[in-house]
Symmetry: C2
Subunit: 340 residues, 2 copies
């Protein structure tokens, strides 16, 4: 069972293109670190040899605008490092086949300094010819699991996730373990594919959120409210799990070591400034969650229940603000890798 549902399409009120502030804060926080990683680790002369073409990909790019900001940043840092006017950049925007590439393409910056192309497909498999990518970037995407582990749905399994929609808040460690195990499988495929595609000496930067998803408990409790009011069958909540796992530095290190083709040049948890957190801006926070998760909710519960669940969570915004003030600290995982 594939669990992929794209971010909300188009540019309407709950669209991802209008509601990706959390992802932008994560990216902004990583900008300087990415710059340092490129300056320190990228040796363009050795990886391009006589060519002047530098190939970049943004894996799991969604529909913008964040991907345009990151790609322009990578291009600019490389340009500033080498001052070589002959360098030409080709950017491959990748996301699932169900991603809204039409919106992505129509919002491409007119003044971009790279050739743009879109590559549809899952980054858990091969996307590019061998040794054809010089720099791979992946922000706010590896935490999406390719599927929900079966045992979470098995009423006879110790990992059955009754009454909850995520491992956050689950007291049973088997549940988190099932998520970890699926993440490891997914990342093995991810690294196997990238090891083929990235040239020797090429780089990969991964950026992943490391906080905020326990807020899913508020959405879960809104669903349980609907169960208690008789509007929703509890088995539908029991059979629903958000396919997101927030990897730790240790999770990544394990996979990279098992793969064996990359060296970790930097891996750290960082605590970026967050306007959202400073203002305990629960409304923006919930709308952002909706832009990300609405497709997933509609697919499982139908649009009426999905609408109810988000509306009710929205009404809890004071409670969520209070929670944000005491429990939520923006945190992200930054990893810079080099292909050996």
């Amino acid at each position: 069972m594939s669990t992929f549902f794209p971010m909300n399409n188009g540019d309407a009120v709950y669209s991802y293109s209008r509601n990706s502030q959390i992802q932008r804060e994560i990216l902004d926080g990583a900008k300087e670190m990415m710059k340092e990683a490129i300056i320190k680790n990228l040796d363009i002369k050795s990886i391009l040899s006589s060519s002047n073409k530098f190939h970049i990909t943004d894996l799991g790019c969604s529909i913008g605008p964040n991907t345009f900001t990151s790609m322009q940043h990578v291009v600019q840092v490389v340009k500033d490092k080498y001052h070589d006017n002959n360098l030409e950049f080709q950017v491959f925007f990748n996301d699932h086949i169900t991603n809204d590439f039409n919106t992505l393409f129509r919002s491409l910056p007119v003044d971009r300094s790279y050739y743009a192309s879109g590559v549809p497909g899952s980054f858990h498999g091969r996307l590019f010819p061998s040794q054809s990518i010089h720099f791979a970037h992946c922000s706010c995407a590896i935490h999406w699991l390719s599927k929900i582990p079966k045992e979470l749905l098995d009423t006879n399994s110790p990992a059955w996730n009754k009454g909850l929609i995520h491992y956050a808040g689950a007291s049973n460690v088997e549940i988190a373990n099932a998520y970890v195990s699926q993440f490891q499988k997914d990342m093995e495929m991810f690294f196997d594919a990238r090891a083929e595609e990235i040239v020797q000496g090429g780089m990969m930067v991964l950026i992943s959120p490391f906080s905020g998803w326990d807020s899913l408990n508020f959405l879960g409790s809104s669903l349980m409210d609907l169960v208690n009011e008789g509007m929703l069958d509890e088995s539908l909540v029991d059979s629903f799990n958000v396919p997101i796992y927030l990897p730790s530095p240790d999770d990544i290190t394990k996979v990279v070591e098992k793969n064996g083709c990359f060296s970790i040049e930097n891996i750290e948890l960082t605590y970026p400034q967050s306007k959202l957190v400073d203002e305990a801006d629960a409304k923006t926070f919930i709308i952002n969650l909706r832009a990300i998760l609405e497709g997933l909710f509609i697919n499982h519960f139908g649009s009426k229940i999905a609408e109810e669940a988000f509306t009710r969570t929205f009404l809890k915004n004071k409670e969520i603000s209070a929670w944000m003030k005491t429990n939520y600290k923006a945190c992200q995982l930054f990893i810079a890798l080099k292909r050996k």
Copy 2:
């Protein structure tokens, strides 16, 4: 004023994906010629040197399925010629930014033997890094003009195209001349861009329809019927011109010589077998026209008049069948070029 409107989206009854039989017949007719051109002219060892990556683009690919057939054909012919299992193919599907890439991506053949990507933008300008393409293919696309020459709309110009929607059927030679002149300008830009993008020794195959567009007179007369019935202002017909010019071998030769970077390996008019013609199948013919032109008509006349014009033309199917039997002969222009 840009005149580009994409083929009808999606896969509904009048969609291009369901109604591209004429284009398929043109492609089928060109298959063998393309094969011969590749066998005779392509020297993969010299153009790839030590690399194993072969880059193909389909310029003006629309949304399928024809583009998948052609691309698989090119890949297969190259594979059969070289029997080199290490060869890897990357196909760049190009069309205007308003093309429905979502439909294109979702209908990509699962068993394709190439890496797929989409490149949005006009082929009258640069799309790729310099010297990065080994084989460019362009079928049923160069005959679309980038814009309608101003003089066709100028009531004071000898090229004013009153009461007609195309140069076909126009008695005034100035009208056809205005089309030719725009075609030459567009193709100069096209060849300038391709000369930069295609590697030395790389190839380009152009396939263009050379018959059938005088049928636009039937659509034009349906519009004039609406004018005569008071449903449509004549000035709206006078200000509308279909931005299509069918180039002759001579038109192409001129542009190629002016550009100077390509040698013509083959250029010929061919008369493929046509099921449409054999059966004088006017209904399929008109639906095909609709799939291609509806967006253009709706943009100029609004959807009500566009619908009326196509419906009325459809009612003329017997007249059109008779015309097809006596006047219409499927004909296409095939050109194989090599980058010097």
